[in-house]
């Protein structure tokens, strides 16, 4: 920290004497609390060398967990993206009664504990759930199977896309759509050629966050998974299983994949915030 100076546009309080101290303190807090865990993940993953690391990832259970994680995200993310677009369209472009209640309902899943987001599906579809007997009779498996993992993931990640799109579309208003209609465009053309291009970066941003959470979700899926190795363990659950088996290298190897996912997401997200600030909702601008 050689050159600590006030950020360029800011001519306000400088506290010149303590500025370096404050910066140092911030870096220390961030370092100890946030950056150290990240380093630890990779360090522990490679603690016994590259070959052990690769072997851990090539393990059939690990491969199955990766595949399952991708499948769950591939179902949950597009559904939530489609929902987000539909919800943002009706909330941002129309005035109707009960709108604020609807927005609250959309945001609601963010305020649940992940464990509760898993629990509710067990209450519905578990062995003693409301639909438990029916499902057993018809030999349909939801809990401890893929559908349960997908439902839990959808519930946890439901607000991500809608939350990015609603404020942006509200800010953009409906003038461009109205202009397109006066120029003879159909409703579908207007949506496809005007609305969608205008929200594409925010949509990407929302999908990015939604995907990161979907792939990394732990609490909700842990409740509905049953932890059947190689079958219902997603990558984060695989980490847990190995960790509890004291296979630390294996656990951290799997964790390193998830950490990389997090880092890539962070990188893309930051890039979007810098390059396309004007096309994201106001809170995302840097």
């Amino acid at each position: 920290m050689t050159a600590v100076t006030p950020a360029a546009p800011i001519s306000r309080i400088r506290l010149p004497g303590i500025a370096p101290l404050l910066v140092l303190a911030s870096v220390a807090v961030m370092g100890g609390l946030v950056i150290l865990p990240l380093i630890t993940v990779f360090q522990s993953a490679f603690a016994k060398g590259l070959s052990t690391y690769l072997a851990a990832l090539k393990d059939p259970d690990a491969q199955a967990a990766i595949r399952l994680t991708l499948i769950v995200a591939a179902i949950a993310v597009p559904l939530n993206a489609a929902f987000g677009i539909a919800a943002a369209w009706c909330v941002a472009k129309f005035e109707f009664r009960g709108k604020s209640a609807l927005i609250t309902l959309i945001d609601l899943p963010f305020s649940f504990s992940p464990v509760v987001s898993g629990l509710v599906w067990v209450l519905l579809f578990g062995a003693q759930g409301w639909f438990g007997d029916y499902l057993v009779e018809h030999d349909i498996k939801i809990i401890f199977a893929l559908p349960g993992l997908v439902l839990a993931t959808i519930l946890v990640t439901l607000p991500f896309v809608a939350r990015e799109l609603i404020p942006l579309m509200q800010g953009q208003g409906s003038d461009e759509e109205a202009a397109a209609l006066t120029l003879g465009a159909s409703g579908f053309t207007t949506f496809w050629k005007i609305t969608l291009p205008n929200i594409r970066w925010a949509l990407l941003y929302g999908v990015l966050l939604c995907n990161a959470r979907a792939m990394g979700e732990f609490g909700a899926v842990s409740v509905v998974s049953g932890h059947i190795r190689g079958q219902t363990t997603t990558l984060p659950l695989h980490v847990e299983v190995l960790y509890n088996d004291y296979d630390f290298v294996g656990a951290f190897a799997a964790a390193s994949l998830l950490a990389s996912l997090g880092l890539v997401t962070l990188l893309l997200k930051t890039a979007l915030e810098w390059r396309h600030a004007g096309d994201l909702s106001a809170g995302r601008k840097r």
């Binding site: 109205a178 202009a179 120029l183 003879g184 291009p197």
Partner: protein, 360 residues
């Protein structure tokens, strides 16, 4: 305030194009339009003038199909306009903030209305290109076709919006505060240019403005709205010279107002008596006159007795603040019209040249 009038197109003789009858519209309990009826002729340039909240923009949006009135009829060329959805009306609408498609280039913006037509009616790629080039030259934006709206100045954006609206060969052009977002200099330039463009394009045009100077300067006829009602409709000159009521008088320019009386064809204001204007109501009245439409006379002459309180030179114009019958009135005089030796404290007489009289 100097006001010039355009040569009114010979509007009355041409065919009726737009026919609005009894249009009403309310937002919740707030009435935005109350039983508005007005007509526009083919190729006419009509201004909807009024303060904010007068319903002028609502009326324009009804014409475009962006709002549906609660009651009334809108016909265009004899056809029931209200039963047509927006996209089939073929009106060229220029939005107040232009509503350019921000992710499209200038050329793509202008071509949009042509490219979204059903395949059977869509012009060939080359034809679209030619049309865009033609429109770009019409709005004097050649060379900017690859730019994005964010890379244009306000005036340029406005012209792109206009070209985009003209591209669909609209039956009617609708402009919502076309100069509202521009600075004064650009405004004045674009104003004359728009008028010329209208005359060349020969399309019925309705534009909304809150600027009386703009409306009087540009339009063939001016419709003045207030609180959702049409107050007056007429040629700029007629409207300016004979405002229908005190509101219109006030709205069209600076006004001086004094209480007075009309009895037996004679108008009395303070200590001044004269022949009442034609058609003036009897009894207690409000007398209006423009601050620059007065003649000055010495204290023994004819007119309202006044005492000068202050003078301010403003370029060639002089603003004279005087007290008439206990009331402070601001007058304006152009250099030569100024009475000699005018200074604070001087007593003189002031004769309104064209007073308007309204029952109070």
């Amino acid at each position: 305030m100097p006001v010039t009038f355009p040569q009114a197109a010979n509007a009355e003789s041409s065919a009726l194009a737009l026919d609005i009858r009894g249009v009403s519209k309310a937002y919740g309990r707030f009435p935005a339009l109350k039983d508005v009826s007005l007509q526009a002729h083919d190729k006419e340039f009509l201004a909807l003038l009024g303060p904010s909240g007068s319903g002028k923009t609502t009326l324009l949006r009804v014409l475009a199909g962006l709002e549906t009135p609660d009651a009334g009829e809108v016909r265009f060329g004899g056809e029931d306009f209200l039963s047509l959805p927006v996209r089939r009306r073929r009106v060229g609408m220029v939005f107040q903030h232009y509503a350019l498609f921000r992710h499209m280039t200038v050329a793509q913006n202008i071509a949009f209305g042509l490219t979204v037509r059903p395949r059977a009616e869509r012009p060939a790629r080359e034809a679209v290109k030619a049309r865009v080039a033609e429109l770009l030259s019409l709005v004097q934006l050649e060379g900017l076709e690859k730019r994005f709206p964010a890379q244009l100045s306000g005036g340029q954006r406005q012209r792109v919006a206009l070209a985009r609206a003209l591209a669909i060969e609209p039956r009617m052009l609708l402009l919502d505060e076309p100069f509202g977002a521009l600075d004064a200099q650009v405004r004045r330039e674009l104003r004359r240019w728009l008028r010329e463009l209208h005359d060349r394009a020969g399309v019925t045009t309705v534009f909304v403005t809150h600027d009386q100077e703009e409306a009087l300067d540009l339009a063939d006829r001016v419709a003045i709205l207030k609180d959702g009602e049409l107050i007056q409709l007429g040629k700029p000159k007629d409207v300016y010279e004979a405002p229908a009521d005190p509101f219109v008088y006030d709205f069209l320019g600076a006004a001086c107002r004094m209480p007075g009386r009309v009895e037996g064809g004679r108008l009395t204001v303070a200590d001044w008596e004269s022949a009442a204007p034609k058609g003036a109501p009897e009894g207690s009245v409000e007398v209006f006159f423009r601050p620059d439409e007065v003649a000055f006379a010495p204290p023994d002459g004819a007119g309202l007795g006044a005492v000068v309180r202050a003078i301010a030179q403003r370029g060639p114009d002089v603003r004279i603040e005087c007290v008439i019958d206990g009331q402070t009135v601001e007058l304006e005089a152009h250099g030569p019209a100024l009475p000699p030796g005018v200074a604070p404290g001087l007593a003189l007489r002031i004769r309104p040249l064209r007073p308007r009289v309204y029952a109070s």
